[in-house]
């Protein structure tokens, strides 16, 4: 007989509660830890990898084939991969798409990402569904479970963890045409590129501020409206952002928040947030718009949520505009009689359905109304 069967390079996944999965290494050789989360979308893996809201998380793809259509530089949501590590069933280096530039393996190597494939991802998802989100570690270099436990011990807990400042832009910058109709100040907590593009394409000129920019500096620009971006981490740990938002609210100018931005708006209104059992991550979440009575399928990515009980006590001040049809969680709020609103989900999609693009139009309408009433 010729040489023995060559097993692919191994990798291991250890969960906080001791559960172990063995699989094959993908990406670069190394070790990565973070909070486990799963995304149920069947398209858009590259957009997910580069979404800053996933910072610090180990992502599980429930779709069983990943990599089939390669990677393409324009289909990213930020300048680099933001997930901490990647877990999937079948990782394909053979891709087929004439528009793609490289295979996902090459991309992972360039981005220095650690991953594991040939894992029973369904077992893993069921485990998280039952036990709740937890930390885990992937390694393709350390196989000693004791050492991996040590690494896990040093991995911070997501609850109370501030992460936005780590993925926010370090320097402020401008986007769009300076002669555009509306000047929008964006608080970047880790924004997705397509949120900005959606605004720019609607005649907005954006000034993007680092997350921790003091409110005075943001207000000093004299924007027509404000935008609170998505981002990673626990919103309750972001006092700076809550303070800035309170200052913005005092101006009475239009304000729009998405995802983490939505949670920050709630916190600024003294509505607490809580950590969900295992979050919503996918592109098939049903949301009902209580104002219009219409429904939309939405792209979601969040592990924290706004407390509905408190909202119901503040109905004179805040209106719940959107709810999730699966679990009745709050998906959107609006300040009564004021041009300030936010949604928990991602109207910019990328990846996901384009059903909720109208929210950007709504923001623009409010900007226009505000401008008109003022003049």
């Amino acid at each position: 007989m010729s040489e023995a069967y060559q097993s692919p390079a191994p990798a291991v996944l250890l969960l906080q509660d001791g559960k172990v999965f063995h699989g094959e290494a993908i990406g670069v050789k190394g070790t990565a830890s973070g909070e486990l989360c799963f995304n149920t979308g069947m398209t858009g893996y590259q957009e997910i990898f580069t979404d800053p809201s996933y910072y610090g998380q180990l992502l599980i793809a429930t779709n069983v084939h990943i990599g089939n259509y390669g990677t393409k530089a324009t289909e990213t949501e930020s300048s680099s991969v933001k997930i901490a590590g990647f877990i999937c069933k079948n990782f394909t280096t053979d891709f087929s798409r004439l528009q793609a530039e490289s295979s996902i393996q090459d991309y992972f190597v360039r981005e220095k990402l650690v991953g594991i494939q040939q894992v029973d991802t369904r077992e893993l998802v069921r485990h998280i569904r039952n036990k709740g989100a937890m930390n885990a570690v992937i390694s393709s270099e350390i196989f000693d479970l004791g050492r991996l436990q040590e690494i896990l011990g040093k991995t911070p807990n997501m609850d109370g963890l501030e992460l936005a400042s780590r993925v926010s832009t370090k320097e402020e910058y401008f986007l769009g045409d300076s002669s555009a109709s509306y000047k929008i100040a964006v608080l970047d907590f880790g924004t997705k590129r397509n949120i900005l593009l959606n605004l720019v394409n609607r005649d907005c000129y954006l000034r993007i501020f680092p997350a921790e920019t003091p409110a005075e500096k943001i207000l000093a620009w004299g924007a027509d409206g404000y935008f609170l971006s998505n981002g990673p981490g626990d919103p309750a740990a972001m006092d700076y952002a809550i303070e800035s938002t309170r200052a913005i609210l005092k101006t009475g100018k239009p304000l729009f928040g998405i995802c983490l931005g939505h949670q920050i708006l709630a916190l600024a209104l003294n509505v607490p947030t809580f950590k969900m059992h295992h979050g919503h991550r996918g592109i098939n979440h049903p949301v009902k718009n209580l104002v219009s009575g219409k429904c939309e399928i939405t792209s979601q990515n969040h592990g924290f949520c706004v407390d509905p009980e408190t909202l119901l006590q503040k109905t004179d001040l805040i209106e719940i505009t959107h709810v999730n049809l699966n679990d009745d969680t709050v998906e959107g709020i609006r300040l009564k009689g004021r041009p300030a609103f936010s949604v928990q989900y991602h109207p910019e999609a990328s990846p996901g359905p384009h059903d909720a693009h109208y929210l950007f139009d709504q923001f623009i309408d409010e900007l226009a109304d505000y401008k008109m009433n003022k003049s």
Partner: protein, 938 residues
């Protein structure tokens, strides 16, 4: 909007007899819709002329009308019943056409019936190609350049402008009938003529062919609040150019980026919303140019379509059930996901597995038929397979086909001449996927295969990886040498033990034994619509080789029902009907009912029919592991046609009880020699016969029996390759043809009873009592396959003495075979002498027909008898039929223009209808009889 309470009774229109392009998937949608409406307390009336359907059963609807699908029938129903609304979207094109016709005649208005779930204008817009094209263009979407032609000249002009290749699409036809690609100018005239002829409005669309573009299908649901959800996205592995019904299709889409997919999704929603105002299902097909991801709208079906059943089985989302609820006013957000019971019905299912649908063709039944695949659908059935990877699903699909393949190649059925394969791949034939694998195995570059087939390189690369792993396997000589991780990898890629054994030229048992020793077993995962995000309790499982097993056997006593696999000529929807009743009876008897089948069109594989569903190939290796896990009390093989029966021996050998008639008795009935010995012993006449292993033996047998003789291979279905020959030359010729196609088969030669009448008995025996369900007399003489003959229930010309003799013989056979459950016996009657031709120890094709005609729940009774939970005497059987019921065969010949339409011993019909007559003076019947006698003069 909540349910519209003004709707208290609904009429559902079925799709009629099974034809190619409109099969039992509409029984599935109709039954689901009916159950869904009855859940709401609505009284459901149902019209369908197809007696083999579960939708026309009292378990499904309140009032069943097994009447011809005509406006006259509708009027009769409306006179009899107070109908508030008609739901015409569940019965395919047939139902819609009938509803539209009734609308035009003002019938609905006259009786105050509302049409629900449909917008007639939307239907007409979708069907009228020219209007539809303009509509799409107005929405800013693209369609291929095309021209409408109502005359030959207009057609010629259009071709001149477009150039070749082009497509001809006749307006208002089913399953692409009369349409096709025209690659060269020389072929154009004939194709144009055929297209114009096929269209009832003498209209065709001449369209630029977008050959090789990727093809996708989206299934949508929309409610009156204009909420739309995409239930399923399917990618055709066979790109544009092959009818989607004849394509291997995959879900989820394998090669689609989010950018490309969302554009498609948004366009599909825009399209559906733009097409009138209706609540229900819709299907949109797109072509995508791989060069630049440009999208073209191919077509839209604003109704529950052929692919809805597949989409429902692929995702677990019951499209027809929900569509019916939307039709009576509910909105999606007011309904629950039927699978999780806790989350909303308004969502888009997500898959954590891959499904592959593979069509099943039956070209052998249509000698002279063109095997070439194109715009016109030619397959007669399909299988669906589920796996945790594309390749696992693909190989499982091959194993589900029941065409003696053990997977995708590696099973001694490969082609080995590169030139032959390349030649074959130049045209798309039914065996294309196998030939792609063969070519890759022989080292043909992937690029060449892509150029020949235009199949996306991703699929080709995937198949290529099988070739690599097979090479790797060649390092080993015996099963024991295969390392565990490698064997696991092969199993994960869908290889059967049989394939691995063939590659190593060892026995399958050795692979199996080694695999068991290594503990490499199937695990089962749930189809739950949501990739495990939410807890689901649907007992819908598929096998894979992943780590966790989710199918935990209950401690209840269980009985497994084996289904009949893909539909084909001679074995179709009627066995689905039998299985559904079997499952219901099993539940009644207090057992857990478990269904095993791989046919996505069936009602018996719906998520809420059996207590537990294994959507798996009806293939021994897969079944064995289900038996190991579930440890059932027994398995019912009598309800799944020949497919299920064939597995009886393996099940018996495993020591698992066959519920009902024992394996040995079945074997006697199935084995020609043993059965003839039995008849001899019982002194029952039968035609002389003999078996032969070569032409010499055949000639010797014929000499003994005398000509004419009936020649056929043993162990085939629906009379495949069966011929009547009249002399030595013909016999020799035919025997050689059989051996050429089926080298390892034996040939059966029967004395042919010329001018004999044919009749059959379906009966139940419980060990004590013998009950004849029905005696059916064929209108056409012996020599025409029973499946293709018209037949009357009860007999119309047999003498009482003849019928008594038949009954006497039938009982004698049932008793001596110790039948427990169903038996079907076929007779020939010549000169008042009754001969037994064959006995089938199982439900027959005619069992559902008899149950319907007499309005007796025979399958329920038979299942109880098999299980021993009840005896015949526990039932009060009252046959209720005035006059006669005629079984009318229905053919799909228009799909095969060059096929000999002459009937013979080989079955060709695809479906059947029931037709009631009061007496034998009926003109329809008189006409039948006079036509039938023509066969005698031929």
């Amino acid at each position: 909007m909540p349910r519209d309470h003004t709707i208290k009774s609904v009429l559902i229109i079925g799709s009629g007899p099974i034809v190619i392009g409109q099969a039992c998937e509409f029984d599935y949608s109709g039954s689901q819709a009916s159950r869904s409406l009855r859940e709401e307390g609505i009284e459901v009336s149902l019209i369908n002329s197809n007696p083999a359907t579960i939708m026309t059963d009292p378990v499904t609807a309140d009032h069943v009308y097994l009447w011809p699908l005509t406006v006259e029938s509708l009027v009769k129903i409306l006179e009899e019943q107070k109908i508030d609304a008609v739901l015409p979207t569940m019965g395919g094109q047939t139902a819609l056409n009938l509803a539209v016709e009734a609308e035009k005649q003002g019938i609905w208005a006259k009786y105050g019936v509302r049409m629900i779930g449909v917008d007639i204008d939307a239907i007409e817009l979708a069907e009228n190609r020219e209007k539809f094209r303009n509509h799409v263009k107005q929405l800013g979407m693209s369609v291929p350049p095309s021209y409408i032609a109502n005359s030959f000249l207009e057609g010629k002009n259009a071709a001149q402008k477009i150039g070749f290749p082009l497509v001809i699409r006749p307006s208002f036809t089913l399953g692409g009938t009369g349409g096709g690609f025209v690659m060269k100018e020389e072929e154009f005239d004939e194709a144009l003529r055929r297209g114009l002829d096929a269209s009832p409005s003498h209209e065709v669309l001449v369209e630029k062919a977008v050959l090789g573009w990727k093809e996708f299908e989206l299934e949508l649901l929309r409610d009156l609040n204009d909420s739309v959800a995409i239930i399923c996205t399917v990618e055709n592995m066979d790109p544009m150019g092959i009818h989607t019904g004849d394509s291997i299709t995959v879900a989820p889409a394998m090669t689609l980026s989010d950018t490309a997919f969302q554009k498609m999704r948004t366009d599909a929603i825009t399209l559906m919303r733009s097409m009138g105002n209706f609540a229900g299902g819709c299907n949109v097909q797109f072509a995508l140019n791989p060069e630049n991801e440009e999208l073209i709208v191919v077509e839209i079906n604003p109704r529950v379509s052929r692919s809805s059943a597949l989409a429902s089985k692929a995702t677990g989302y019951p499209i027809a059930k929900i569509a019916a609820k939307l039709a009576i006013g509910y909105n999606l957000d007011e309904l629950k996901n039927q699978i999780t019971k806790t989350t909303s019905a308004y969502f888009e299912p997500t898959l954590d597995y891959v499904i592959v649908k593979m069509p099943r063709w039956d070209f052998e039944k249509f000698p002279g038929a063109d095997h070439k695949l194109g715009l016109q659908m030619k397959s007669v059935g399909e299988v669906m397979a589920i796996g945790r990877s594309f390749l696992e699903a693909l190989q499982k699909a091959c194993q589900s086909q029941e065409n003696r393949r053990m997977g995708l190649g590696a099973d001694k059925k490969e082609w080995i001449q590169t030139q032959d394969i390349l030649k074959r791949l130049e045209t798309a034939f039914d065996d294309r996927v196998y030939r792609v694998k063969d070519a890759l195995r022989l080292g043909v570059p992937e690029k060449t295969i892509h150029k020949l087939t235009l199949i996306d390189p991703w699929f080709i690369k995937q198949i290529k990886s099988l070739v690599r792993i097979e090479d790797e396997l060649m390092r080993y000589n015996v099963a024991e040498d295969i390392p565990a991780p490698f064997l696991r990898e092969m199993k994960e890629l869908g290889y059967s033990d049989g394939q691995i054994a063939w590659l190593l030229r060892i026995h399958e048992r050795e692979v199996y034994r080694h695999r068991m020793k290594l503990g490499i077993r199937r695990t089962y995962k749930m189809v739950d619509t949501c990739a495990a995000e939410f807890e689901a309790r649907t007992p819908y499982f598929y096998s894979t080789f992943d780590r966790e097993n989710e199918s935990v056997p209950s401690d209840k006593k269980k009985i497994i029902v084996l289904g009949s696999g893909p539909n084909r000529i001679g074995q179709g929807i009627e066995f689905d009907y039998c299985c559904v009743h079997g499952l219901i009876a099993i539940k009644e008897a207090g057992y857990e009912s478990i269904m095993v089948n791989c046919n996505p069109e069936t009602v018996s594989t719906d998520f809420d029919i059996a207590d537990k569903l294994y959507f798996e190939p009806v293939y021994w290796e897969h079944l064995k592991e289900i038996l190991d896990l579930e440890k059932p009390e027994g398995v019912i093989v009598q309800l799944g046609g020949q497919t299920a029966l064939k597995l009886a021996e393996d099940i018996h050998r495993e020591g698992i009880r066959i519920i009902g008639t024992s394996f040995n008795s079945m074997d006697i009935a199935e084995d020609r020699g043993r059965f003839s010995d039995l008849l001899k012993e019982l002194e029952i006449p039968y035609p002389e016969y003999g078996t032969a292993r070569d032409a010499d033996e055949a000639l010797a047998v014929a000499k003994r029996t005398g000509y004419p003789v009936l020649v056929r291979p043993s162990y085939v279905l629906g009379g495949q390759k069966m011929r009547i020959v009249i002399n030595d030359d013909e016999l020799e010729h035919h025997v050689l043809t059989i051996f050429k196609h089926m080298p390892e088969n034996k040939v059966l030669i029967d004395q042919f009873l010329e001018r004999a009448k044919e009749a059959e008995i379906d009966a139940i025996f419980d060990g004590e009592d013998f009950h004849i369900m029905g005696v059916m007399e064929h209108v056409e003489p012996a020599g025409i396959h029973s499946g293709d003959s018209h037949a009357l229930l009860p007999p119309y010309s047999l003498t009482e003495e003849e019928i008594r003799t038949m009954a006497f013989y039938a009982e004698k056979i049932a008793r001596s075979l110790e039948i427990c459950g169903l038996i079907n016996i076929q007779f020939a009657i010549k000169d008042h002498q009754v001969y037994v031709i064959e006995a089938n120890p199982r439900a027959s094709r005619t069992t559902p027909f008899i149950a319907k005609a007499y309005q007796v729940p025979y399958l329920n009774i038979a299942t109880h008898v098999m299980m021993g939970t009840k005896k015949l005497r526990d039932f009060n059987i009252l046959k209720n039929l005035q006059g006669y019921a005629i079984k009318v065969p229905v053919f799909s010949f228009e799909k095969f223009p060059h096929v000999d339409k002459q009937l013979g011993p080989e079955m060709k019909s695809t479906g059947e209808a029931i037709y009631y007559i009061k007496d034998l003076k009926d003109p329809y019947f008189r006409k039948l009889v006079s036509e039938a006698s023509m066969y005698l003069t031929r």
